[in-house]
């Protein structure tokens, strides 16, 4: 069941909760059980930064089942401020601002909907910050 899988990972999807190695300080998202840098198993939950920049992106016209109504959709690899790279959709962004290096921030959106009667699954997506908006947020 899609909803159960989502429920188990909801803090990951809702708040970008990953882990941080208590020995070397390296952050990971999605969470890992052993630090990939120093091998330590002493990891604690950590909320990832909500801002970053686009490393690369693509536009999907043919989507996976469940995402048809959102097509065409932009998918990007985003490098967060702590260096962690995550994959996510980029929304509410005019084509001319969607470019490598563009500053983005995470927003809370519907990821997919399980039909008319099933559950609505939420999670993070990204929005490219306009110059004015960046000034407003400091």
């Amino acid at each position: 069941m899609m909803a159960i899988q989502y429920w188990r990972n909801k803090d990951r999807y809702y708040r970008l909760i990953g882990v941080s190695c208590t020995r070397c300080g390296r952050d990971f998202f999605p969470p890992v059980y052993r630090c990939r840098k120093c091998g330590s198993e002493e990891l604690k939950d950590k909320e990832m930064p909500k801002e970053g920049k686009i490393v690369t992106f693509t536009r999907l016209y043919e989507t996976l089942p469940g995402f048809e109504t959102q097509a065409p959709l932009n998918l990007a690899i985003v490098e967060l401020k702590n260096g962690v790279k995550v994959l996510g959709q980029v929304v509410d962004t005019p084509e001319e601002l969607l470019k490598i290096g563009a500053h983005v921030r995470a927003v809370f959106r519907r990821i997919r909907v399980d039909g008319e009667s099933g559950q609505i699954l939420y999670g993070y997506k990204f929005v490219v910050e306009h110059v004015d908006a960046r000034r407003e947020t400091g």
Partner: protein, 344 residues
């Protein structure tokens, strides 16, 4: 109504979706031309709903407040994504808040101000230190109906806590006035609301707001000229200006918080968003009158005084003005796709 302990706003956050539908588009499709009373309306994207907008506004409000623990989270809305399953618990989870009283409130367009009153009561009585009141809607209008011109999406959130020197504004007093009035309603399982056309004005909007505000002025001994700003519920561009003049306020007092011409009626988000626009501009010591209206019907009126903290916290969040400017126009067909009016 006054709380025993002084209660204040510590942070606020607004959220206006990115997309705008010019009302000329609605008129083009359904009337062959013309426009609605407002220039444009804010439209939630296909992946937005009341939950997502509530979370965005709440995150801003919590960031500005700098308060870690919220003892209550109330979401005022008439457009819950679920008939049974709270919006407020999803917001709580997204904020990482679990030891909190969470509930959804519904009173048409005034559900947010009753959330503010409840949180004020909980804080003022000492039951909680701080709580969150959110007003947000993805308002529905039947295609072709007069409501479709104005029914819009957006909202605002307020972190309310004890008055401790870090507040941005103090909630001095509030009043409420209600009656059984059938101006606007939506029956169970119905997708769109119905309304009694002109009946929504005199016996509904004006009657309730005038009574609530007059009671507030009487209780506080203040006159309309004592307020720098006045924010009224905004179902269209005309009503808030007209009720202001009737009550003795002038149009300058209303101007700053009047967003309807640019974004339409965001229902439970309407007067809270107007208040957010005013707080973006207000200076310490200035008085604000806030009066909501909810069909069914009722009005809550607030007397709010701006505090010194507003200057320290300015610039933490995007302003309402920046959200108005960051937008993209869409046509009717895109709007129909986004809001589920187009069935695939």
């Amino acid at each position: 109504m006054k709380s025993r302990e002084k209660v204040a706003i510590h942070g606020y956050g607004a959220y206006i979706p990115y997309y705008r539908l010019p009302t000329t588009e609605i008129a083009r499709v359904w009337k062959g031309g013309g426009s609605g009373p407002n220039v444009e309306k804010a439209v939630a994207a296909i992946d937005e709903d009341t939950v997502t907008m509530a979370v965005e506004a709440a995150r801003y409000a919590v960031r500005m407040a700098g308060i870690e623990r919220l003892g209550a989270i109330f979401v005022g809305t008439e457009s819950k994504p679920y008939a049974v399953k709270p919006t407020s618990t999803i917001v709580a989870q997204a904020l990482g808040q679990h030891f909190t009283l969470a509930a959804d409130l519904e009173f048409a367009c005034k559900a947010a101000t009753e959330a503010m009153q409840i949180v004020t009561g909980l804080v003022g009585s000492g039951m909680i230190d701080a709580g969150l009141a959110i007003g947000v809607d993805t308002a529905q209008g039947r295609p072709g109906d007069d409501l479709e011109y104005t029914a819009a999406s957006g909202g605002a959130a307020y972190v309310i806590g004890r008055k401790d020197g870090n507040q941005i504004a103090t909630i001095e007093c509030s009043t409420s006035f209600v009656s059984d009035t059938g101006d606007f309603w939506r029956r169970a399982h119905e997708r769109y609301p119905r309304h009694l056309s002109r009946f929504t004005g005199e016996p509904a909007y004006f009657y309730h707001i005038e009574n609530a505000v007059k009671a507030l002025l009487e209780e506080t001994g203040l006159r309309p000229s004592d307020f720098k700003y006045a924010v009224f519920h905004q179902p269209n561009p005309r009503f808030p200006v007209e009720v202001a003049v009737r009550l003795g306020f002038n149009t300058d007092q209303v101007k700053c918080g009047l967003l309807n011409p640019l974004i339409g009626n965001t229902y439970a988000g309407s007067s809270p968003l107007g208040l957010a626009a005013v707080l973006d501009e207000a200076s310490p010591g200035e008085r604000i009158l806030l009066a909501s209206f909810g069909s069914g019907a009722g009005s809550d009126a607030f007397y709010i005084t701006v505090s010194e903290g507003i200057e320290r916290k300015r610039g933490i969040n995007p302003t309402v003005k920046s959200m108005l400017e960051r937008c993209a126009k869409i046509d009717y067909s895109t709007y129909a796709k986004f809001r589920g009016k187009l069935i695939k």
